[in-house]
Symmetry: C2
Subunit: 475 residues, 2 copies
């Protein structure tokens, strides 16, 4: 039942928008426009004022037409939500997303209002997402309840990552960041569940776990509605796909912030740590870490072990990356003797063919590519981090990027990239992101990405699982 | 004597470039061009081939002309460096920068070669920076020994930050990053000291400490030539200006990388931590942290205490920032009752005027500016972090930036900024950097910046010092 409920939200063939508005600066307009332009099913606009929006009729009530409707989005003011719900019940709508805020998160009166809509839902077997949320975004079918126009928030395109978020602001901002990253092909499904009157974090996690389109799950939580069920679901799901989660509201200061934000309780943070680890959830603490993990899992393979090779042309950057390798409990790989000897012969004598491989300030694009070609199949190496400092005069960064392109399709080893510097580093970033290679702005973060991939691969091996291939191969 | 030695390097009125080259892809050309175009003193080009570069004569020897020369840059191959040094001695040059590599860092033979140049220097009272380094960069006087052309490495312009670095690649890359940041006005003096044959980290730190143009010192170290003297110098200097230092080569993996990079020994890292803390050095571990500290110290005031106010329009971002406040041992400020009550009256009822101040998805630019205006002089608040999520439909980010501009000149409190999202967040970043406000890409990093400012302010107060004003006020 649970699974089929969320299925209804994402697979509905018709939708009614309660609170569709002709005023272009209103959420009710933006959502109407999103669906009219992109939804592959049928869209019905509802507003007691009637009229017309973008050439489509606005019905005064959902009961004013005969076509069946499977799903509803409600954006009307809080006090009108119960009557909209009653109309949904009469129309036989079973999936309702309530964007409207002003319920248990603000007052006793709001709490009662939320109780009333829960009763209507229960009496009529209606499932609710929200209230007080951003709702759903599913680019593949054109389901887009994000009430901010494209000019304010760039949408990511169809991809393999699904997001569940308690905070609407967090979720919508993260969508904006994904939308402007690389080719933008990142998102499968997005659910902002807000007050979780009915559908909560555990329901969504289970659904994403079973969803074949979802390859990676990102979660932003401040508290739990069904913590035990969430952890139990995670234990199963994490054997099939990575779950990367922020559990914010970690200490007294965080809890003070939450009290005025959404209605949830501060949990014991150390306990959260332990439960997450045991259930295979990759816990991250900051925005950077969430982003860095997303990039790693979306764009790299899982490693067979913890032995990392660093290839760079900057001594200092190599040392800092090596420090990170040591600090995170990874190991510096020892290049296989035959490969090592061949490279010593082929490369200039003043290059260092140890680990890091230091191509020095005399590095060229050709030598960078050569070093990857030699080491990419070395069984003594599990992961490679490429730290490019583009400033040396002999490196032609365009040649280097052209040379890397074939590897984007064939690479068979975990790899992360970093480029340091000004304009040329920005160029390298853009090129590598287009190749769906995981790019990081600093050495420490490139190693962090490898560390998290290694941690998850270890978890899967410890639990007798094969390593799934998540990375999408560019065409 | 020490101080006057480095003084000679930065204040020389004439310079000879040994190894000036007419081949435009050679370091000897780039450095010649840098000096011919920018140096406010006299430049003499030296190369046994003679000829002409950019219309200026190339002397076959520094002894072929009568004008006196105060400083030399040597870029000739390693084996010719001793004879160039001998010519410097005959000419009476007392300050020599040896860019050339191939000395003790690569072989026994190189070690002997370095010994030979040390002897010549000692016999003739010549001070050396290098060998195996990038040398000096001092934009104010047009001293620029960076052998990479502007097209490869953007130079920062004159400012208050001075850098000492053991790794040339680290240093030049960091210059490139500073050069592309905001208005680029960041750098006072840069010294890459390489093998530290003579002048080392302790000499440079002392010089920067006494230099009135240097407001902030950044250091990148992998080992120490004179660790004790460095720490003793730091103890004095840190009472006047912040020293932000990376000491890389922190563990066995890091040490393995260093062995093949420069000649230095891995020190005990925990000891380094303790010594740095005790000497008032702000230790950072990663590229991001160094950058984040630089931005904080260069663009914010030091706080009077540890009470932080968060102003945001995104609940989740506020919670994450509050988590960071708690984690770093800072405190969430309590807004003074009178100010709190006024804001409660003036702002919409559903805004949260606690800490974080949550302007919600209904926030406008006006309310953002209003919140800053109300709280900027509150004695109960030591620092403010502004976390802007630009997506809400009613925020006009241009109005917000215009509204903040006057505060860039008048702000009297520690403040850091963050904007999250896609294109509009990038716009906000650029605008705030132009105002010399400290900008961070994530909430955790904006709080980290405040934490480091607070830590240093505490250190100064504990040592009976007044808080210096480092931030440059935009005109």
């Amino acid at each position: 039942m649970l699974k089929s409920s969320l299925h209804g939200f994402f697979e509905a063939k018709s939708i009614a928008i309660f609170g569709a508005s002709a005023a272009t600066d209103k959420p009710g307009y933006v959502i109407a426009e999103n669906f009219i332009k992109n939804f592959e099913g049928k869209t019905y606009l509802i507003n007691p004022k009637g009229g017309e929006i973008l050439g489509q009729p606005v019905y005064k009530s959902v009961l004013d037409f005969d076509d069946p409707v499977e799903e509803a989005v409600i954006i009307v003011p809080a006090k009108y939500v119960p009557s909209s719900m009653e109309d949904c019940a009469k129309k036989g709508i079973k999936s309702v997303v309530i964007i409207t805020g002003g319920f248990k998160e603000i007052s006793e009166e709001g709490k009662n209002l939320q109780k009333r809509i829960d009763e209507i839902a229960k009496e009529n077997n209606i499932r609710i997402i929200g209230p007080n949320c951003i709702g759903l975004f599913y680019p593949k079918r054109g389901i887009d309840m994000v009430f901010l126009p494209e000019s304010k928030l760039t949408r990511p395109k169809d991809g393999g990552i699904s997001i569940l978020t308690q905070s609407g602001a967090f979720g919508s901002t993260f969508l904006d960041i994904m939308g402007t990253l690389g080719n933008g092909n990142y998102l499968s499904k997005f659910v902002s569940y807000g007050n979780a009157s009915d559908i909560n974090e555990a329901d969504i996690l289970e659904y994403f776990g079973d969803d074949p389109e979802t390859k990676i799950i990102l979660a932003y939580l401040e508290g739990f509605n069904e913590g035990k069920r969430f952890i139990e679901a995670a234990r199963k799901v994490s054997l099939k796909k990575p779950i990367i989660a922020i559990k914010a509201n970690r200490n007294e200061a965080g809890a003070q912030a939450v009290a005025s934000h959404t209605a949830s309780l501060a949990a014991n943070d150390a306990l959260t740590d332990a439960l997450f680890r045991e259930a295979g959830i990759i816990r991250v603490y900051t925005w950077d870490e969430l982003f860095d993990c997303m990039v790693a899992f979306n764009s790299s393979l899982l490693p067979e072990g913890n032995r990392v090779l660093i290839i760079t042309d900057g001594g200092g950057a190599g040392v800092m990356a090596s420090d990170s390798v040591g600090e995170l409990g990874l190991e510096l790989a020892k290049i296989s003797p035959a490969i090592h000897n061949k490279m010593k012969e082929d490369l200039p004598a003043f290059f260092s063919v140890e680990n890091p491989i230091d191509l020095t300030g005399s590095a060229t694009a050709k030598e960078y590519i050569y070093s990857l070609e030699q080491t990419k199949d070395d069984p003594n190496i599990d992961s490679i981090t490429y730290i490019i400092i583009p400033t040396p005069p002999a490196i032609n960064v365009k040649d280097l990027m052209e040379g890397l392109k074939p590897y984007a399709k064939t690479i068979n080893k975990t790899i992360t990239f970093c480029a340091l510097g000004g304009a040329e580093a920005v160029y390298i970033r853009e090129e590598l992101e287009q190749m769906n290679f995981p790019f990081y702005p600093t050495p420490a973060r490139a190693i962090y990405g490898i560390d998290k991939l290694t941690e998850y691969a270890d978890y899967l091996r410890d639990h007798g699982q094969k390593l799934p291939i998540i990375r999408e191969i560019p065409k």
